[in-house]
């Protein structure tokens, strides 16, 4: 099987690392060769963050380059615009509609672009979801990451739902399990 490339993009602090951990867990249990690459340290402090996930029979590079991503799972709208050049021609962008202002917008040095979702939808195959609303419906605004994993899981039809549920059980603390399972289902059924 050829290698599939996924990017998870967002803002430092949004919980993208848990999303990539869940994904890595699921893909490993399915028996794939898996590589993940993420950046720690300074850029995590509210900066633009990206995690690369690749799987298949034999994966070489741990990173995804421009024009290579089968899926981009985006936690924030401006980040979708920033990373869209990494999407493969027939790739799919799955994006949260949440907006988090970067510092240049807060200081007034730049403005948050208007109509991002409309523009992206005209350029590529896009599924938009208000993951914050669904996370709050599940019980916590922090569950945005699990909602988005639910959205992605629907696309990855080669992986059974039970594998995702098992990975969530193994990854999140027991007292948050029920809330996270609800968040996952809300994303998956969206």
């Amino acid at each position: 099987m050829k290698t599939t490339s996924i990017m998870i993009v967002g803002v430092g602090g949004q919980g993208t690392l848990l999303a990539s951990k869940l994904l890595g867990n699921v893909l490993t249990q399915q028996g794939y060769d898996v590589k993940l690459s993420e950046v720690h340290g300074m850029s995590q402090r509210g900066g633009s963050v990206v995690t690369y996930v690749r799987y298949g029979d034999r994966v070489y590079s741990p990173i995804v380059d421009e024009g290579e991503a089968d899926y981009i799972l985006s936690f924030e709208l401006l980040e979708s615009a920033r990373w869209i050049s990494y999407l493969k021609q027939d790739g799919v962008l799955l994006t949260n509609t949440q907006k988090t202002w970067p510092m240049p917008v807060i200081t007034g040095a730049a403005s948050y672009p208007e109509g991002i979702l409309e523009k992206l939808s005209a350029m590529a195959d896009v599924q938009a979801v208000d993951a914050l609303a669904l996370a709050e419906q599940a019980g916590s605004p922090k569950a945005v990451n699990v909602v988005l994993i639910g959205v992605l899981s629907r696309r990855m039809s080669d992986i059974p739902e039970s594998a995702w549920l098992q990975a969530i059980e193994q990854t999140v603390p027991p007292r948050f399990l029920e809330m996270n399972l609800k968040a996952f289902r809300l994303g998956r059924e969206f």
Binding site: N25, V39, G41, W101, V105
Partner: protein, 579 residues
């Protein structure tokens, strides 16, 4: 069992499996997690040292005592450790000694992108470079074998992509090598001139033996494919080459110092074009050219700055890139910022207001240099703020001293700020130092340090007080302020910069991300009271927005610190902390 391991986690696994008993490191991205994961093994003693020099010296001591020992550091940490490393090269080892140095091409989290391979050449030490997590684990074990076989410290070089990527690793059991008996041997271990002259001869003999080893070891692997193109490469670049040119022939180098000569020459003769792919400097390329081995492309194609990738290699080789669509409008950048509730924000708001010259240092508070605070004038290396403030004020005089401060964090102060403070007292400085004590090593992701009262293994220990060190160093003016109270912080700074003596202000409040620091309810803006003056925007908080002439608070980000409310003259902020 196969497990998905981070490169750094795999290095720690290698330490465990190799029977390493002693680990001492100072945190530094991208090396930090190695030591944290190593601390998770009961069989491995692991600690945070105050800096990389002490870490290496401790590991050399543990090696002398007969144990397999280890240190990890980032590339610039090796500068600090270079003094013991260069002479440890002469003394050699008793128990195996491996030192991991993690480079950061592209400077994801560093102040420069120096290439550590030069150190291996200069200090005459073998250096191994893994490509992925599996090799991280394997090469640690190989490095211990080399260290003990050739009586030398061995270096393991990683980079950000290897350290922070994950792949599947088959786990093995730990071996438990017996402690090598310690025997007094001054000829070997006392680096006095008469002994060192003899040891240098041994070092050269060792390098000859290692050069012969490099020709035959399976660490350097020839993968013959299509002979039209032959790549010479190592580390993460090997994976990019395989991704971009899966059919090409490759010489994959795992031992990158000393490099083989005849093996490379033989490879070059088998292929039509020889391309050297390496990040940062042309170390392999220069070695090949020096030995008259044909190179058809290298630094002329790839340059010596930043990271490479599969597309960068395709582009340099003139191969078509995957098609990519472009967003046709400028996308505002998203630079890292201080977190909501960060204790540094109050201090930098005051420094920005006072328009002081700020000699900065390495840590989260480097972010005080960004807009809108723009409060930092210089950042150089760990501990430099204090020395620079001393030189700056000596030259520009007392007037400049009344307009400038040094700013340094608690962990950086313990790393290399103490000698700077001693110098202030000794050489009659009038500089003012602000020690930002947030009770943790922040930027690298919350490591304990000598001021926090806990060890790496979370055992209670003596919490060293920064104020005691400053007083003992001869600083008479030492005081403590809470940066959450901006008025009191401003008054303290005004007093100390006016004083005709060196002074230290400890600016103390724990990092907002520490588990025991509880977030308060978010604030909200009463739009009727907000006059749109933007005073609250001056603190540079990611949770405050300004739309339609009014400020508002993003309740998902706000932790209720209330700095914005302190800035507001109209009482428009409600809730959060009472102030």
């Amino acid at each position: 069992m196969k497990k998905l391991l981070l490169g750094n986690q795999a290095v720690a696994r290698g330490l465990y499996e190799a029977g390493c008993r002693f680990v001492s490191s100072y945190p530094g991205t991208p090396s930090t997690e190695i030591t944290e994961f190593a601390a998770g093994y009961d069989e491995v003693y692991a600690e945070w040292a105050p800096n990389e020099k002490v870490a290496v010296e401790s590991a050399v001591g543990a090696s002398l005592a007969g144990a397999r020992s280890f240190c990890a550091m980032k590339h610039v940490g090796f500068n600090v450790a270079a003094d013991p490393m260069f002479t440890a090269s002469y003394s050699g080892v008793n128990g195996g000694l491996v030192v991991c140095v993690a480079d950061d091409p592209g400077m994801h989290s560093s102040q420069n992108e120096q290439d550590s391979r030069h150190y291996a050449v200069a200090a005459k030490l073998p250096m191994l470079e893994p490509s992925d997590s599996r090799e991280c684990r394997d090469f640690v074990k190989r490095a211990y074998e080399l260290s003990e076989q050739f009586d030398t410290p061995a270096l393991l070089r990683t980079c950000t992509r290897v350290a922070h990527s994950q792949c599947l690793v088959e786990l093995h059991d730990r071996v438990e090598p017996a402690l090598k008996p310690y025997e007094k041997n001054p000829r070997k271990n006392v680096a006095a001139p008469a002994n060192a002259v003899l040891r240098h001869a041994e070092v050269e003999k060792r390098m000859d033996a290692l050069r012969a080893f490099a020709e035959t070891t399976d660490l350097n692997r020839e993968e013959m494919g299509d002979t039209a193109l032959g790549f010479v490469t190592s580390g993460t670049c090997y994976l990019y080459v395989k991704e971009a040119f899966p059919e090409a022939s490759v010489m994959k180098l795992g031992l990158i110092n000393p490099l083989p000569v005849e093996k490379l020459r033989a490879f070059a003769e088998k292929v039509d074009r020889v391309i050297v792919v390496e990040e940062l400097d042309g170390v392999i390329e220069r070695h090949m050219r020096m030995h008259g081995i044909r190179v058809d492309g290298g630094k002329d194609l790839f340059g010596c700055q930043g990271e490479l990738s599969q597309n960068k290699i395709r582009r340099a080789m003139g191969v078509a890139l995957p098609q990519a669509r472009r967003y046709d409008e400028a996308v505002p950048g998203r630079p890292p910022v201080m977190c909501p509730g960060c204790p540094h924000r109050g201090l930098f708001t005051v420094l920005s207001k006072l328009k002081l010259t700020v000699l900065g240092d390495i840590g989260c508070y480097t972010l005080g240099s960004g807009a809108p605070l723009n409060a930092v004038d210089s950042v150089l290396c760990m501990g430099a703020s204090i020395g620079m403030a001393h030189g700056f004020t000596k030259i520009l005089g007392e007037e400049a001293a009344r307009r400038s401060v040094a700013v340094i964090g608690d962990s950086t102060f313990m790393h290399s700020g103490i000698t700077g403070v001693v110098n202030l007292a000794y050489n009659k400085s009038v500089a003012t130092v602000l020690v930002l004590d947030n009770s943790i090593t922040g930027m690298t992701g919350h490591q304990q340090n000598p001021t926090t009262g806990l060890t790496l293994k979370n055992e209670p220990t003596y919490p060293i007080k920064i104020e005691d060190i400053c007083r003992a160093s001869g600083i008479e003016r030492v005081r403590v302020v809470d940066p959450q109270d901006m008025a009191a912080t401003e008054a303290a700074i005004q007093e100390e910069i006016a004083a005709d003596a060196p002074s230290v202000i400890i600016v103390r409040r724990p990092c907002a991300l520490l588990k025991y620091v509880k977030a308060k309810p978010p604030l909200a803006v009463d739009p009727d009271r907000c006059r749109g003056c933007k005073a609250c925007m001056k603190v540079g908080c990611p949770a405050i927005r300004f739309t339609d002439g009014k400020a508002s608070v993003d309740a998902t980000l706000c932790v209720g610190c209330g700095l914005c409310a302190q800035m507001c003259k109209f009482g428009a902020f409600e809730g959060g902390e009472d102030k």
